[in-house]
Each structure stands twice: as C-alpha cells, then as structure tokens.
C-alpha cells in the first residue's frame, strides 16, 4: 500500500450528455482532514459517490484505501465509513441496536461489538442513553452518533457529506472535536461542507467549480493566493466564476 489514502487521476463522470465531473485529479494523505468544497451542483456528491464505490467513473483511474475504484468497489466498501447529509441511522432502533447492526455488517463479532459499544458510548458520554430509541435523541446527538457509527469499525477513510447541516454552533464545535480525534487515531477524513469556518479547520481544502477542482491547498495558502481575509472570500471569488445553474 502507498502512504496515500486516496489518489485520483483524471476522473470523469458523464450522465448522458452532461459532464458532472470533468477530469479531476488529487491525492489525500493518510490521517489528513480533507475539506471538499463547492457550490450546489458543482459535482461534489458525484465525486463522493464514486469514491465510496456507489457509482463507477466514466473514465480515469483511482485508488481508495489501496483498492482500485474501477474494479474493487466491494473491497473499498469494507474499508470506509460513510455519513450522509440525510440522517441515516435507524430511528426506530436504540443506540445500541444501531451500533450492533452496523458493527455486524462490517464483520465484527458479537463480543467485539459489545466491548466497543461500551467503550465508545462512555467516551461520548452517551452510555446512559444506550437503550434510547434514536428518534428520541436531539438532532445534535443524532449527528454525533451517526459519525461514531461511521467510524465504529475503524475504517481507513470516513466520508462525511455535509455532516453538520442544521446543527447549532456549539454542537458543531463538539462534532469537529470528534473529527480531530478520529484523524489523530489515523482515520482519513473526507468532508464536504457549506460552512466556511469549518473549512478553516481542515488540513487541506479543495474547491470545485463546474465539475473541476479550481483550487487545492491549505486554508492559509489559499487565503494568501487569493489575497483574501477568510475562506469565505476565497469561496465567493471562485464560486462566482461558475457558469452552471446552481440548482442543478
């Protein structure tokens, strides 16, 4: 295995005559927190779906967690975690039952699941709520739980698709502490967001415009390059060059 978690070479995805992703290339280091930014319709979700093995690129090549994107999607799925913008734990199962289910899906044994569940819930301060139905938890807790479930099986990479949508600032702060902790333990974090303050927390950031990556660097380098005071300025400048309708 290389020391890169993800490498992508010239990936293109077309839907009929529409080119959603237009020949992008990038590499992500192990343990890095990689911010993946772009306006709605820029192609972020399409890229993420390809990296997760949910759809295949029309052309190009890439490796995710050491597996080929074109041929080894099943192996990729075993080595990643995923948290979608739509809350997707089972609301009518308890906290513990959700962890038990997803642990089992990733091949953990019943005993190992039980041990990890206790450890994880204690760390989160959730242990008292272990038998609470997920739908009865506040939204912020649900999001934290969804993230913890996504990394429950210690994946190589975790993909977070706008994980903090609709969450209050305090909970967002706590959420990012969880992300840092995961990165410290060696998990590569690939995160999309519309909050530019969150972009500042990332090790490196890429900004997609109209299916291409227009900028990729650390937040401080990007600000210097675009002579901007904040990531928000950088984003505004790049997003304004977009020609696509932003509601695609």
């Amino acid at each position: 295995m290389t020391n890169k978690a993800i490498t992508v070479e010239n990936i293109t995805k077309r839907f009929g005559g529409f080119t959603a992703v237009d020949g992008i290339s990038f590499g992500i280091e192990r343990g890095e927190i990689f911010g993946f930014l772009g306006a709605n319709g820029a192609g972020k979700t399409t890229v993420m779906r390809m990296l997760c093995g949910l759809s295949k690129p029309t052309s190009g090549s890439g490796m995710v967690a050491g597996f080929d994107m074109m041929t080894e999607t099943e192996s990729i799925k075993r080595s990643i975690g995923y948290m979608s913008q739509k809350f997707s734990l089972y609301a009518d199962l308890t906290v513990r039952e959700n962890l038990r289910l997803f642990g089992a899906i990733y091949g953990l044994r019943g005993r190992a699941i039980a041990v990890r569940t206790v450890k994880m819930l204690r760390e989160l301060g959730f242990y008292a709520e272990r038998n609470t139905m997920v739908k009865d938890l506040p939204l912020g807790w649900q999001q934290k739980l969804a993230f913890s479930t996504a990394i429950f099986h210690s994946p190589e990479i975790v993909f977070l698709d706008e994980p903090t949508g609709g969450v209050d600032p305090l909970t967002r702060r706590q959420f990012w502490e969880l992300i840092y902790k995961a990165a410290d333990s060696g998990i590569t974090v690939f995160v999309t967001t519309h909050y530019m303050d969150e972009a500042e927390y990332c090790d490196r950031v890429s900004i997609m415009v109209d299916g291409r990556i227009e900028a990729l660097d650390t937040p401080s380098n990007l600000k210097r390059q675009y002579n901007a005071a904040s990531m928000d300025d950088v984003f505004q400048r790049l997003a304004q060059t977009a020609k696509r309708n932003d509601t695609i």
Binding site: C52, K77, S84, K86, Y90, L93, A104, I105, M133, F159
Partner: protein, 368 residues
C-alpha cells in the same frame, strides 16, 4: 451469520411499528369472522309482490305456499300489474307473480292454468334465482293439485331429477369462499408489506447507508422478505384454525399440501412486490402500482367469478396470474381433497412465475 443480525433488525422494527403487529393479528380474525357471511352469493329473502286477479281458494293456497318458503317474503299484494311494477321501481319488491282471473276455474276444468313471473333482473343472478325458485314452488303446487283433482291428469314429471352436489353437498357458499379469503389475505400481507418496507427505507435514506456498506444487496432484501413469509404462514395457520373452529371447515386434503402451496405463493407474490419496489421511489407510487396489479389479479383469478365464463382473451391473461393457480389449488385441496400430484401443473407454473419475478427483480435492481 450476518443474516441473523439483519433479521433481528427487521423483526424489531416490525414489532415496534405502532400499527403492523395489530394488523397482523386482527386482519385474519376479522376477515374470517366477517367475510364468509358478507361475501355471499346466495339469494335469500326475495321480496315477492302478488297480483291476484282470481281471489279464489286455489290462488290463496298458492300464496300461502310461497310465503312459507324461506326464499320469499311477501312484500305485498297489488291490485294491478302496474301497481306491482311501481313497487319494483321503489325497490320494495324483487319479483311479481301475477295470477290470472279464472285461475281456479281453468285448473278444475282443464287441469291447466298459467301464471306470470316477472323478476327484477338488474342483478341477473338474483332475477334468475327468483324465477327458478318460484317455478319450483309452482311445480310442487301443481303436483299437489293434480293428486286432489278427480280428473287426475297426466303426471307432470316422468324423469325425476335428483342432483347430488359433490364436494359441497349443502351448496354452502361459505365453504367455497373461505379458501379464497385465505388467498386474498396472503396476497395483501405478503405483497404490500415487504414492498412498502423496502420503499420506506428508500424514502428515509437508510437504504443509501446500507448501499455504502459491504452487505450484499440480495442478503439485505432476503432479510426483509423472510419476516413477511413467516407472517404469511402464521396468518394462514390462524385462518385454518378459525375455519375449523367457527365453520367446521377442515381441508379434505393434506395440510402439508396447503402449506406447500402457501409457501410457494408467498415467495412468488413477494417477488412481484420486489419488482414494484425497484421501480418505485416513493411509498405512494409503490402503493398505487401494487393496488393496480392486486385488483386485476384478484378479479381475474376465479376467486369471485369462474375463469371459464370469462371471454377467451381474459382467460388467456389468467394463465399468467399466480393467484389463479393458488386459488385453484387451495379450493381443490380444501373441498375435493386433491393430493399434490393432482395439482402438479399448478405447482410448476407457480414455481415458474416465482422464478421469473425473481430474475426480473434482480435485473431491475442492477440497472438502478
């Protein structure tokens, strides 16, 4: 191994559903208690209006004899035929019996007389039954008169017909409809519930989460179907018990054959549900499409009306209808006591349809 965890999830979710467990218990009980009485094609309590133009002893006797029958209620007498027609229009009467003036005189003199029967045939079956029951009473009546009259006259019937109704000796409609009600229950439970369950996960977005995990799609779907298969067999068992307890109706054939066909059928019909769920993105859509197919299949299965009396093109369609084979098999086992080998055609055709739905379900899933 993983299947165990997935099944555990599905069963917990079904049990926690505020509505499903009650439905699963209450539905078969309700259907078996109520519908054998309601879904009934027997014709009883026909309202009869008599126009007696003769006012004689014999016409009075005929009226009494008819009123004594359990099939007829005397709704009234009318002075004229027009008045009687009015009562049919008001829906007070179903059939008119008009007795001519001189009825008694003709009988005594010539041994021959006529009456007119006019049934309301808006409901053709009911009209036909009314006319035939009434003719039966009239013929009994004339036999009685003939014996009394001194002139005697020729005996009316030389051949006496004495039907022996096979497999349902009392012509009890309940016996006929109960196995069909079981078929309808299994259709609804095993067709709709898994379909709505799968599309429900699509709507909530949880299926997307499952798609990014290494769990095999086929295993995931299987974990959704198995609980409903078991539910279907449980419901069938409840129905079999109720049919025996309440109606004393016990399959003439082997229970094993009943279960064999039921298992094959629930697998087949949930296959259709899978296909529908693959093409639907919302519960509304899935519900509507399932309703469409289920109603067509119910009406074209022979459950309510015999397949043989459908037009040729409709009969051709019924060959592709899994319900047709299942209901044929259920009635044959229940009423005639047919064994497995008498129903081997139905078995293999159902098996074939199950296979087709299975292949279709897999292919339509992969395309998406």
């Amino acid at each position: 191994m993983l299947l165990k965890f997935l099944l555990e999830k599905e069963i917990k979710q079904i049990r926690r559903n505020p509505f499903l467990p009650r439905l699963i218990i209450a539905y078969p009980v309700l259907v078996m208690l109520v519908f054998p009485w309601v879904a009934n094609l027997e014709v009883k309590d026909i309202n009869l209006c008599i126009v007696d133009n003769d006012h004689s002893v014999y016409s009075q006797r005929l009226t009494e004899q008819i009123s004594a029958s359990e099939y007829f209620c005397l709704s009234g007498t009318a002075a004229t035929c027009d008045e009687a027609m009015e009562s049919i229009k008001r829906n007070d009467s179903d059939v008119i019996l008009e007795i001519d003036a001189g009825f008694e005189k003709d009988l005594v003199r010539g041994g021959n007389s006529t009456v007119m029967i006019s049934p309301n045939s808006v409901n053709g079956t009911k009209g036909a039954f009314a006319a035939s029951y009434l003719s039966q009473i009239l013929s009994d009546f004339s036999d009685g008169i003939r014996e009394e009259l001194p002139s005697g006259g020729p005996p009316s019937g030389i051949i006496e017909i004495n039907p022996q109704y096979r497999y349902n000796p009392c012509l009890d409609y309940k016996t006929f409809i109960i196995p069909a009600l079981m078929v309808i229950l299994l259709t609804v439970i095993c067709g709709f519930l898994p379909t709505l369950n799968i599309v429900g996960e699509k709507e909530k977005g949880t299926i997307e989460q499952i798609n990014v995990t290494p769990v095999k799609k086929s295993l995931f779907i299987l974990s959704k179907l198995i609980p409903y298969w078991i539910t279907g067999i449980f419901i069938l068992t409840v129905c079999l018990g109720l049919a025996a307890l309440i109606y004393g109706l016990i399959p003439a054939g082997s229970l094993l054959t009943v279960y064999l066909f039921a298992i094959l059928f629930v697998v087949t019909y949930s296959g259709l549900g899978l296909v529908v769920s693959n093409y639907s993105t919302t519960m509304q859509q899935a519900m509507f499409v399932m309703f469409f197919f289920t109603i067509v299949m119910l009406l074209m299965s022979g459950i309510f009306t015999p397949v043989r009396s459908m037009p040729g093109w409709a009969q051709a369609i019924t060959y592709a209808n899994p319900l047709r084979y299942f209901v044929e098999a259920m009635r044959a086992i229940y009423l005639k006591g047919s064994g497995f080998f008498a129903l081997i055609t139905q078995f293999f055709v159902l098996l074939g349809i199950a296979g087709l739905f299975g292949i279709w379900a897999i292919m339509s899933y992969k395309k998406r």
